[in-house]
């Protein structure tokens, strides 16, 4: 599908980093900083992954759900759209959009199992109401392109499609969803950045292959740097910092 990315709604909706990094005024009032905003989104991406493991859906569904969640927060505030409800609802909507429907009651069940905290307590009807609001916030655009497909094609093309490289790069791509890269860059460039990082780390010489590709290597390198920065900063993320950020929002308890 990569050939059609350029005519897709996904391509038309790509944003500048500054637009993604805008903290909604309502959230700012509550003292949410850009750091908090990013932390909450990382936490929600993890939450979606955990839920997805329980209900057993494909990685693609997780990726789409996280993308929906991130898109929602470029337009809506954390204050009005409780991330603890938005996250599972995005998974619910993504499972439908990606043709592997998960029942809402199953999600409700696993939410309770994963989080005993009352703040995470939601009923089916909450999810269904939020589904409608998310659809609107997404302006009904549901097709999302991901780096996975280009990843396997590119690895093959580079002659790097051994199990080891496939695993490393696949894992890297999964981790990119803890960032907003999918909102900013075309998926194949994200895939290339992951290959670049992996080939550097595994000391594979891909210089010639990259040079022959007709892509802007500066962009690929920038994405790679951003991914590496994320890994750097990721070590500093603690439960405490996440709860502190979430507490600023002061939702119903």
């Amino acid at each position: 599908m990569a050939t059609n990315f350029w005519t897709s709604s996904h391509y038309k909706q790509l944003l500048d980093q500054e637009d993604v990094d805008m903290v909604n005024p309502l959230d700012k009032e509550k003292g949410i900083t850009l750091e908090d905003f990013k932390l909450i989104k990382i936490h929600m991406a993890n939450y979606i992954s955990k839920l997805a493991q329980n209900v057993k859906v494909r990685q693609r569904v997780v990726a789409t759900a996280v993308t929906y969640m991130r898109r929602v927060y470029t337009r809506k505030s954390l204050t009005e759209y409780d991330p603890r409800l938005v996250a599972p609802t995005c998974l619910y909507l993504a499972s439908k959009a990606e043709e592997s429907t998960v029942q809402a009651r199953l999600l409700v069940f696993y939410i309770k199992k994963l989080y005993s905290d009352d703040k995470y307590r939601f009923e089916i009807k909450d999810i269904l109401e939020m589904e409608m609001k998310i659809l609107e916030a997404l302006n009904y655009y549901l097709v999302v392109f991901h780096p996975y497909r280009s990843l396997s094609q590119l690895l093959q093309d580079a002659g790097l499609n051994d199990i080891n490289m496939t695993q490393v790069t696949w894992g890297l791509v999964n981790d990119t969803y803890k960032m907003d890269l999918i909102l900013v860059h075309p998926p194949h460039l994200i895939a290339l950045a992951c290959i670049y990082i992996a080939s550097v780390q595994r000391e594979k010489d891909t210089t010639v292959w990259f040079e022959e590709l007709r892509v802007d290597m500066n962009v690929v390198k920038n994405i790679s740097m951003e991914i590496l920065d994320f890994y750097e900063g990721n070590r500093m993320i603690t439960e405490d910092r996440i709860s502190a950020a979430l507490n600023k929002l002061g939702f119903r308890s």
Partner: protein
């Protein structure tokens, strides 16, 4: 859009008019868009009783139509929630191709047929270019707008394809438009299935009646083989590997000319390429559009000048439910029995004759017993649709087919 209170939108923007029909997943009504003055069709999507939120089929349609903007594809102009229900706004379409084909007062010239087919294929080409399979091509899903433009509608069965290992259900399309590979149970298919259906529509435009009217899946294959001969492994090497493949008694193909006496040589050549058995060899939509049929005289009629049914008729709307088939005009079984044999009347059929047989023939098209067996189950409980997997479906399907065959 997000700043406006969405719940006021119906009142604020759309003036509600009469109900146009009941679709698979809700009511469709006519409305005036006060912002543009245009007439629109609004589909109100019922929330399933199963507590499964926005209807799965509706969601598919939204997802794909948001990506497909083209003059030959129905336009989803807006969507909004209102009183807990999702509403989809479509451009208003006056009629559909089925009504055109069925209207005996309409004479379709070779140029008119060419124009309708070309618009159908253009719409399909956009779908396939975007890796979308329509999977439900049939004349009443081809809507016709006020300027004569034909547009593909009802993407409730459509899917994104392109990953080769992904398996799909073969229970798609109304039976008469189903490609042989689907009838043999394949789960890995491609754009060829839409081409086959488009060929059936092409044939239907030429004959003014559905071309291959099977009464069960088995019978459908029989009808196909009677028209084109039993496929041989040299024609279609992979046929023996298809899940439901069974050997059929060999029937030779009658000359295509004998089935379509009025068609031009170019039309027949294109038709035979679209009706190719092996999906790998079957012409693509893009190749079909480049076929000399479309560049040779007579050139396709300008859409504005195409004949259309008199406007008095009940207007058609997007997804005027194709699967419920409640609009039976005459006893279905009876109408099928009076159906004439294939030979003998196509020559005159093109001239729009008033033969009684043809009347029975036309109403037969709405016959739920022959088109909707597999879907009638879902018609009763639409929310169930996504939860029935394809294995269940084909099991049910086979059972139904068997039951329907015995009394005959």
């Amino acid at each position: 859009m997000s700043d406006v209170d969405p719940s006021k939108k119906v009142a604020d923007r759309y003036l509600r008019r009469e109900v146009l029909g009941e679709g698979t997943y809700g009511v469709v009504y006519k409305a005036i868009d006060t912002k543009t003055g245009q007439t629109v069709a609004i589909k109100k999507i019922r929330l399933g009783k199963q507590k499964e939120g926005v209807n799965f089929t509706a969601l598919r349609e939204i997802k794909l139509l948001k990506e497909l903007k083209d003059p030959n594809i129905i336009e989803l102009t807006d969507a909004f929630p209102h009183k807990g229900n999702l509403h989809l706004v479509f451009e208003f379409m006056e009629t559909d191709l089925e009504a055109v084909i069925r209207d005996r007062n309409i004479f379709l010239s070779p140029a008119d047929i060419k124009s309708y087919l070309q618009m159908t294929l253009k719409g399909l080409a956009i779908c396939h270019k975007k890796w979308v399979l329509h999977r439900d091509m049939k004349p009443n899903n081809l809507l016709i707008g006020p300027n004569g433009q034909l547009k593909l509608a009802d993407f409730g069965l459509a899917r994104i394809f392109g990953s080769p290992e992904r398996r799909f259900t073969h229970q798609v399309f109304a039976r008469w438009y189903r490609a042989p590979e689907l009838l043999f149970g394949t789960k890995q298919y491609g754009s060829g299935v839409d081409v086959w259906a488009a060929a059936c529509i092409f044939a239907e435009l030429l004959l003014r009646r559905p071309f291959l009217q099977g009464s069960s899946d088995i019978d459908q294959l029989g009808k196909i083989f009677a028209a084109f001969g039993t496929p041989t492994t040299s024609q279609w090497p992979d046929i023996v590997y298809l899940p439901d493949y069974v050997e059929y008694q060999y029937v030779p193909a009658p000359p295509l000319r004998s089935l379509f006496p009025m068609a031009s040589d170019d039309a027949l050549d294109l038709l035979s390429k679209m009706f190719t058995y092996d999906p790998k060899v079957r012409i693509s939509v893009q190749q079909a559009l480049e076929h000399r049929y479309f560049s040779s005289v007579p050139l396709p009629t300008d859409p504005e000048k195409l004949p259309r049914p008199a406007p008095k008729k009940e207007p058609k709307v997007p997804d005027f439910n194709p699967h419920e088939g409640p609009t039976v005009l005459s006893p279905p079984r009876k109408s099928r029995r009076v159906m004439p044999g294939r030979d003998g009347f196509e020559g005159i059929a093109l001239q729009g004759d008033k033969d009684d047989n043809n009347v029975g023939d036309n109403t037969g098209k709405n016959d739920p017993a022959s088109t909707s067996i597999d879907f009638s189950i879902f018609g009763l409980q639409p929310p169930n649709r996504p939860t029935i997997n394809s294995a269940d479906r084909s099991h049910l399907k086979r059972k139904l087919d068997l039951e329907f065959q015995q009394p005959e």
